[in-house]
C-alpha cells in the first residue's frame, strides 16, 4: 500500500504543472488544425504546384522526429528571424517555440485526415446543396464541412493523443511541465522513488488520453444520432 500512497503523493505534486501541457496542447491543436486545413486546400487544389508543395511538406514532416523538430525550431527560428528582420527573439517564452514546433508537427497528419474525410463525403451532398440554390461557400460551410468533421473525428482523436504525447518533450528545452516537475521530484529525493514518481506521471497522461478518447466517441455518437433517417 505504501507504493500507492507514494504515487498519490507525487500525483498531487506533479498535477499543478498540467496547465502548461494543456495550454500548449490546445494552442497547437487550434493552430495546427488551421494550418492542416490550409494544407488540405492546397492538396485538393487544381494547380499542381500547390499540390507539390503540400505533398513535400507533409512527407518531410511525417519523417521528422518530434524532438528534432522542437530543437530545430528552438535554435533555428531566432536565427532566421535575426537574419531576416534583425530582431532578437531569443528572450521569448520558450512555450512559444514548443507551440510552433507542435503546430508544424500536428498539421501534417491533420491535413491527411481532413483530406480523406473530405473525399469520403459523397459528391451528391454538395451537388444537392448547389441545386437548392446555395452558393458554393454556403454549401461547403453548411453541408460538406459538418459531415467531413464527423468522418474525421476518430482519426482526429488519435492525432490529438499523439500530439499530447509529443508535447511531453517540452521539458527538453527547459519549460517546467509535468515531466520536468517529475524529474525535479526525483532529483530532490536523490534518485529515490523514481518508479512511483514516473508512474504517477504516466497515470496522468493515461487519464488525459482516455478522457480525449471518451469525449470524442461521445461527440461522434451524438453526431451520428442526427444522421439517422427520418422516422416514418
Amino acid at each position: 500500500m505504501t507504493t500507492l500512497a507514494l504515487i498519490y503523493k507525487f500525483l498531487i505534486q506533479i498535477l499543478p504543472a498540467i496547465q502548461i501541457t494543456l495550454i500548449i496542447s490546445v494552442a497547437s491543436i487550434i493552430l495546427g488544425g488551421l494550418l492542416g486545413a490550409a494544407l488540405t486546400r492546397a492538396k485538393l487544389s487544381s494547380h499542381w504546384w500547390w499540390r507539390a508543395i503540400a505533398n513535400v511538406y507533409i512527407s518531410v514532416i511525417r519523417a521528422t522526429p518530434a524532438i528534432i523538430m522542437i530543437f530545430v525550431v528552438y535554435y533555428g527560428l531566432p536565427f532566421l528571424i535575426k537574419g531576416w528582420f534583425h530582431v532578437s527573439i531569443e528572450g521569448w517564452n520558450r512555450m512559444y517555440f514548443v507551440v510552433i514546433a507542435l503546430t508544424l508537427l500536428f498539421s501534417a497528419p491533420v491535413a491527411e485526415i481532413f483530406r480523406s474525410a473530405y473525399l469520403a463525403v459523397p459528391a451528391g451532398q454538395k451537388e444537392a446543396a448547389l441545386m437548392v440554390g446555395m452558393s458554393p461557400w454556403q454549401a461547403f460551410i453548411r453541408i460538406t464541412l459538418p459531415q467531413t468533421f464527423v468522418i474525421a473525428l476518430p482519426n482526429l482523436a488519435n492525432a490529438i493523443i499523439n500530439l499530447l504525447k509529443e508535447g511531453a518533450l517540452t521539458f527538453t528545452i527547459g519549460v517546467v511541465d509535468m515531466v520536468a516537475k517529475a524529474q525535479m521530484i526525483v532529483a530532490n529525493n536523490s534518485g529515490g522513488f523514481a518508479f512511483e514518481t514516473y508512474g504517477a506521471l504516466a497515470l496522468i497522461y493515461w487519464v488525459i488520453s482516455l478522457a480525449i478518447d471518451k469525449l470524442v466517441s461521445l461527440v461522434e455518437s451524438s453526431f451520428q444520432k442526427k444522421r439517422q433517417a427520418i422516422q416514418p
Binding site: T64, I67, F71, I161, K165, A168, Y198
Partner: protein
C-alpha cells in the same frame, strides 16, 4: 546570418557512427515485437480468458502514455529492480539493452492493434469458404486468412516502423550513443546546436525514406496476387476517347530504318 558549414560536414562524418545504433534499435524492436504483437492480436480476437483484458490494458497504457514517461520508468526504475535479483552488476549493463526493452514494449502495443485490425478486415466468408472446401481451420487460417491479413497490415506496419525510427531519437535520454546523442555532444563544445540538429534531421529523413521505399517494395511483392491484369480486361467504356494500347505499341521508332531512308535521300 550564416551556418557553420565546416562544422556541419564534421558532424555529418562523426554522426554516421550513430546510424548503425539507431538501425539496430529499430530492427531488434521490430523483430522481437512482430511475433509477440501477432500473438497478442490473436489473444484479443479469440477473447482468451484473463489474458485478453490484460492485453487490452497493456495496449491502452502504452498508447496512452508518452514514450518519454515509459523511458523514464524503465530506465530509472528497472536497474534498481534488477539489482535486487542479480546484485550490483545490474548497474553496469549497456544502456542500449534498456533501449531495446523500451522500444520493443512500445511497438508490441502498436503492432497488436495493427494485426488486430488487419485480421478483422478479412471477410468471414473467406474462412467459411475455406472450411467448405474441406480445409482444417488451422489450414484455412494459414493459407487463406493470413496472406490477406498481411497485405492489409503492411501499410500500418510501415507506419509503425516510421514511428519507431522517429521515436528512437529519444534513446539519447538513456545515454545510448545514437545519431542524436553524437550530434548533441559535438554541438555542446562550440554551442552550434542548430547546425548539429539540421544534420541529424537530414539523417532521419534519409533513414525514414529508405524504410518507406523498402516497405513499398514489400507491399508490391505481397499484394501481387491482388494485382489486376489490365491488359486482358475488356474495355467497358464504349465511347471512351482512349485508344487501344495495342495501336500505340505498334508504332515504334526504328533508327536503322531512318538511317537507310536518309541514305536514299
Amino acid at each position: 546570418m550564416s551556418l557553420d558549414t565546416n562544422f556541419m560536414a564534421q558532424v555529418f562524418k562523426t554522426a554516421i557512427a550513430g546510424v548503425p545504433v539507431t538501425l539496430q534499435i529499430v530492427l531488434v524492436a521490430l523483430i522481437v515485437s512482430l511475433p509477440i504483437g501477432f500473438i497478442f492480436a490473436l489473444v484479443r480476437i479469440y477473447r482468451v480468458k484473463i489474458l485478453s483484458p490484460l492485453v487490452r490494458l497493456y495496449v491502452s497504457f502504452v498508447r496512452g502514455t508518452p514514450l518519454i514517461a515509459q523511458i523514464l520508468i524503465i530506465y530509472s526504475a528497472f536497474p534498481s529492480f534488477l539489482a535486487t535479483i542479480i546484485g550490483k552488476s545490474a548497474f553496469s549493463i549497456d544502456p542500449i539493452n534498456y533501449a531495446y526493452i523500451v522500444f520493443t514494449l512500445n511497438s508490441i502495443a502498436t503492432l497488436t492493434e495493427v494485426f488486430r485490425s488487419a485480421l478483422q478486415t478479412v471477410d468471414k466468408g473467406q474462412l467459411e469458404a475455406g472450411l467448405m472446401v474441406g480445409m482444417a481451420p488451422r489450414q484455412t487460417f494459414v493459407r487463406v486468412i493470413l496472406p490477406q491479413a498481411l497485405v492489409s497490415a503492411l501499410p500500418n506496419i510501415t507506419n509503425a516502423t516510421l514511428y519507431l525510427i522517429k521515436n528512437s531519437s529519444l534513446a539519447f535520454i538513456m545515454s545510448v550513443k545514437d545519431i542524436t546523442a553524437i550530434a548533441k555532444t559535438q554541438a555542446a563544445f562550440s554551442y552550434n546546436f542548430l547546425e548539429a540538429y539540421l544534420v541529424v534531421w537530414v539523417y532521419y529523413l534519409i533513414i525514414a525514406y529508405a524504410a518507406e521505399l523498402l516497405f513499398w517494395f514489400l507491399e508490391r511483392y505481397f499484394s501481387r496476387f491482388q494485382r489486376t491484369t489490365t491488359a486482358k480486361s475488356f474495355n467497358w467504356h464504349l465511347f471512351s476517347f482512349k485508344q487501344p494500347t495495342t495501336t500505340v505499341a505498334a508504332v515504334q521508332y526504328d533508327p536503322k530504318k531512318e538511317l537507310v531512308n536518309h541514305a536514299h535521300n
